[in-house]
Amino acid sequence: MHKTLFELEDVIKKYDKVPVLHVKNLKLEENEIYAIMGPNGSGKSTLLKLLNLLDEPSHGKIIFQGVDTGKAGDSVRLRLRRQMCMVFQHTYMFNTSVYNNVSYGLRLRGIKGPELQSRVKEALSFVGMSDFGKRNALKLSGGETQRVALARAVAIRPRILLLDEPTANLDPDSVALIERLVQRIHETIHTTVLIVTHNLFQAKRLADEAIFLYEGNLIEKSPVPQIFTEPQSEVTRRFVSGTMVY
């Protein structure tokens, strides 16, 4: 029996008074890989940002590790947020070396000296980029950038890794590599993974469970082979069968 990490109750997110996400009920368990699927604009990125406590819901409760995050003060939210890390759809590299990009999260956590060095080294070698430390982070290829983004996350050994279409613009080799890395992060540091993906095959390959969002609503959350073979709702069926026009 896994422990519940997140519990969402009637969460609504509005931008300029327009609701873009409504999650009536959602529980996420520890040590799982979740795929979040849905057409563009269905609220996937919004959901990840709420989970990462980067943004606050307009309504409803997000309970993380038993703490009602809406009632928590800034310092508690920061402490909770520091257990997670998100890799964005469009990765931003700080205008400095790869090494400094990877060490940033560790420095924020007060890690320094030899431990800092070894953690950065370990993270870079994890993504197969041991020789890249001194390189300018702005001069990397798309695949390298995503690997450094993963290294930045791995370095801080997050309990939860949130990935927002991390392979969207990559070539097939880089996609396969990133997927292997995600698997290994999950296995070696027992990180719970939420990955937003457009790629149904990727969801099948990686995830234990899949969540389907459509027009801001959570339509379905099912274990992975089943959501593809026996979708519970008509919209999910159209999406996974590729007949949805969007």
Binding site: K49, N52, L54, D74, L78, R81, R82, M84, C85, M86, F88, T91, Y92, F94, N95, T96, S97, N100, Y104, G105, L108, R109, N136, R152, I156, L162
Partner: protein, 230 residues
Amino acid sequence: MTDAGMFTSIWQFLSSRGGELTGIVGLSLSVSTTAVVIGALLGVPLGAILGLRKFPGRKFLMRLTYTLMSLPPVLAGLLVYLLFARSGPMGFLDILFTPSVMVIAQVLLVTPIITGLAAAAIAAKEKLSMDTARTLGASERQAAWVVIKEARTGILAGVMTGFGRAFGEVGAVMLVGGNVRYQTRVLTTSIVLETRQGNFEFAIVLGLILLTLSFIVSSVVVHVDDSKLG
């Protein structure tokens, strides 16, 4: 005038009035540099506040800043003149026609420029880098600092633009400084004077010195920015 004649007269000018010229160049640099340093100390924090926070009235303040960015130098000069004239509210300081008041007029000119360009640079970086810093574990304050650091090239460009504006303007320093020989005469006001007196060669030499110095200052700054990785 022949070319040779021109060079001869420039040479005569340089040898007879070289000391004065050094003083003019020195005053130009020190007045404008001081104004830009003060303008940056005021403008960068103001720009950071405008670029980072969404508070009521922010849009209005941005518009005001953009308007003041194109404040005509002569108008800035007039305002400062009225403020520091004998009968003005700050007249008791008795600094009209001194380099101090020239610095004040130029601060008035460059602060909105530095503020506006820093705010734009910081706001652009805020969109891109704020959440990255926060997801890696930065508090709001730490994330704000990262954004400012990421915007450094844009901020520096704003400061340089401010310097160019101060170093090259004539209206404000002329009005409040009075172009007093050996005291408040700077490169731009000298150019005006020499041109009026028909000394076009000297005016051109002064203009070239002005351009060369601007070029050197901005090259040094760009170089410093390039060579620093981190």
